[in-house]
Structures are given as structure tokens and as C-alpha cells.
């Protein structure tokens, strides 16, 4: 089991110029450690569960760029069909990081339906993702991440993270969403 925050830090450290769409818990953590905040769309960006779909659109629009989504398990359960849609379109530049903490952490830690009994890796595999990984500690994640993100995608990475209910959730970034979007689009046009 790893801390979500540590996993986000490692992903950001190895991202290069990847675009990142982040939802829920990792979306609150990414702004604290991001190496390229101008290329991030986090937390407040999408309706809950839709980060993976926004990231799919970005990946299709910009096949020249790597696109990562940092998704929550509760969020993915709200949009489970997106796994099939993503596998069908099969963007080679798409990596889907799933933070499997088994709770709705942002609302206080209530358990997900069937908490701990679901295999998101199996969901992704059956949906048709050609590359599926599961990591439970930061050492293994850091050792393998460069290989993972350089696969021909779509790639799914299930990260077993602590619910961390004893730790405070980073404060929600109170920024104007339209400002974030403008910064992102400008950065994308420049690069």
C-alpha cells in the first residue's frame, strides 16, 4: 500500500511534457507537486467521473503528446463505460492511473460499493486495454514507471493507495476554472 501523494509525486516527476487530467484525491494533490502546472487540469475541471473522458478527447486531439489521467476509484465507478470507449478508440498516447483507495475520501471516507472486492485491473483488461499494471508500493512504481508510460497505449495502471483517512485532504484549489483552461490552452499552443 502506498500513499496517494507519493504516487502523484512520482508520476509528476517522470511525466516529461505529458498533459495531465486529474480528478478527486489525486486532483487535490497534483497542484502541490506538479512539475508542469500549466499542462494540468485538476480537481475542479470535470464533472465527477469524467476526467478519463476529457483525457480521451485530449489524447485524440493531440496524438503528438502523452496524456495521463489520474482517476479516483469512486469516480471511475461513475463512468465505468469509459473504459470500453477508451479501449475502442485505443489512443496510443493514453495512460490511465487509477487510485484505488476503496473509499470516497473527499466526502469523509465512506466505503465504495463492494469496497476491496473489485479488481479494476481486471475491468480494464476485459474492456480491452492492451497494457494493464498493478502496483502496491512506491518503490515498484518508481522502478517501473518509465517503462509503463512508454508503452503503446492505452495503458491502465492500478495503484493500491492508502485511504489516508487520518490525514487532511489538501485544500481545494480555489481558482477560476476559466483561468486554468486559458493557461492550459495557451501552454498547449506554445508547445
Amino acid at each position: 500500500m502506498m500513499e496517494s501523494f507519493e504516487a502523484v509525486r512520482i508520476i509528476s516527476k517522470h511525466r516529461g511534457d505529458a498533459l495531465i487530467v486529474a480528478d478527486m484525491t489525486p486532483g487535490t494533490e497534483l497542484p502541490l507537486v506538479s512539475t508542469k502546472p500549466e499542462l494540468d487540469l485538476s480537481w475542479h475541471f470535470a464533472a465527477m467521473g469524467k476526467a478519463s473522458s476529457v483525457a480521451l478527447g485530449l489524447a485524440l486531439a493531440r496524438p503528438d503528446r502523452k496524456v495521463f489521467v489520474l482517476d479516483g476509484d469512486g469516480a471511475l465507478l461513475m463512468n465505468l463505460g469509459s473504459l470500453v470507449t477508451i479501449a475502442h478508440m485505443a489512443p496510443p498516447n493514453f495512460t490511465h492511473f487509477l487510485f484505488d483507495n476503496r473509499v470516497y475520501r473527499c466526502t469523509g471516507g465512506q466505503p465504495l460499493p463492494r469496497a476491496g472486492k473489485l479488481s479494476f485491473a481486471n475491468f480494464a483488461r476485459e474492456a480491452g486495454y492492451p497494457n494493464v499494471y498493478e502496483f502496491a508500493d512506491v518503490e515498484t512504481l518508481e522502478k517501473n514507471i518509465d517503462t509503463v508510460i512508454n508503452q503503446v497505449g492505452p495503458t491502465f495502471v492500478c495503484l493500491k493507495v492508502s485511504p489516508a483517512l487520518d490525514k487532511p485532504i489538501p485544500p481545494f484549489p480555489y481558482v477560476r476554472v476559466s483561468d486554468v483552461v486559458d493557461r492550459f490552452r495557451a501552454a498547449l499552443q506554445r508547445s
Binding site: K50, A55, L56, G57, L58, L60, S178, V181
Partner: protein
């Protein structure tokens, strides 16, 4: 029963979408707009992105817009209700242009999907245009221009007699 001849053809709709510079059709087959979907399957200029549930469609389209493309989404009005939270995000948070082609189920007021349709669009402040013949097809370009100028969703309501009320 032989389908009744109608004034709205898929070819004119597809041509108008190409005229607008549409790059992607984010689409789910439905009984009201399947003639457009099927025509789109037979061309290569616009990329089809089929999805599983309508809330996905709006979010995918948002990603495409952010990446510099020009998508249109295609679904039934029942799907609009499903996609409500995504539309809220695109319209009121992200301020992105989004053209939606929406099959008008219940357009004669024969089922609840139609009865609440236009009042729902009005309540959300979404502009819309009714397209039921080839003479109306230019409204797609008008709606597209409006979406681009206002950074808001605009709906094109597709009605075709032969596919029932």
C-alpha cells in the same frame, strides 16, 4: 410499412457538418438520428468516436476542443438528461463551444422526453434550432457560429417524420 418520404436527408446534414469544419462526431446510435450516424459511418473526413453513455460524450468533446479540434456530439434528448452534469461543466465552468445534434424523441408531445425537452433547454439557457427538412440544414452552421462566438453549448434538434413522433 414503407417509410414516409421526408425532407431531411443525411447527405445534407453531413455536408453541412463538413462545411462547419467538424473534425469528430462523438456519437451514440439512436432511433431518431440513426440516418445521420449511418451516413457518417460511410465517410472518412470526420472521425467517429462512439461512446457508451451520454455524459461521456460531452466530456470527450470538451477534451477535443481543449486539444484544438472541433467536435459535434450526437445523441437523443433522453441522453441530454443523462449528460446533465457534463453539460453544466462545459457550459458554466469551462465556457467551451459545443454543438450538439439531438434526436427529438416525443416531438409531438407524445411522451415525456419531448414534453420536458425545450423547457429543459430554456432552463439551462441553451440556444436551440429545429431542423426537420433540408431547407433547415443551414441552421447547423448558424448554431455552430453561435457556439463558437459565445463559448456555450448550442443544440440542433433533429426531427424526422418517418421515425415517428
Amino acid at each position: 410499412m414503407v417509410a414516409q418520404e421526408t425532407g431531411l436527408t443525411a447527405e445534407r446534414v453531413v455536408d453541412e457538418l463538413k462545411k462547419c469544419g467538424i473534425t469528430h462526431l462523438v456519437c451514440l446510435a439512436d432511433t431518431k438520428t440513426r440516418f445521420i450516424y449511418e451516413a457518417m459511418m460511410n465517410q472518412k473526413e470526420i472521425t467517429l468516436v462512439p461512446f457508451c453513455r451520454e455524459g461521456e460524450a460531452v466530456a470527450i468533446a470538451a477534451g477535443l476542443v481543449l486539444g484544438g479540434k472541433k467536435p459535434v456530439v450526437l445523441y437523443q434528448n433522453t441522453g441530454l438528461y443523462e449528460a446533465g452534469d457534463s453539460i453544466r461543466t462545459v457550459s458554466f465552468e469551462l465556457h467551451l463551444p459545443l454543438l450538439m445534434l439531438i434526436g427529438y424523441r416525443g416531438w409531438k408531445g407524445t411522451d415525456s422526453a419531448g414534453i420536458i425537452f425545450e423547457p429543459t433547454l430554456d432552463a439551462w439557457g441553451i440556444k436551440y434550432y429545429l431542423v426537420q427538412s433540408d431547407e433547415d440544414v443551414e441552421k447547423i452552421s448558424i448554431g455552430d457560429k453561435q457556439a463558437q462566438e459565445t463559448d456555450k453549448p448550442v443544440a440542433i434538434l433533429i426531427v424526422r417524420e418517418e421515425q415517428g413522433p
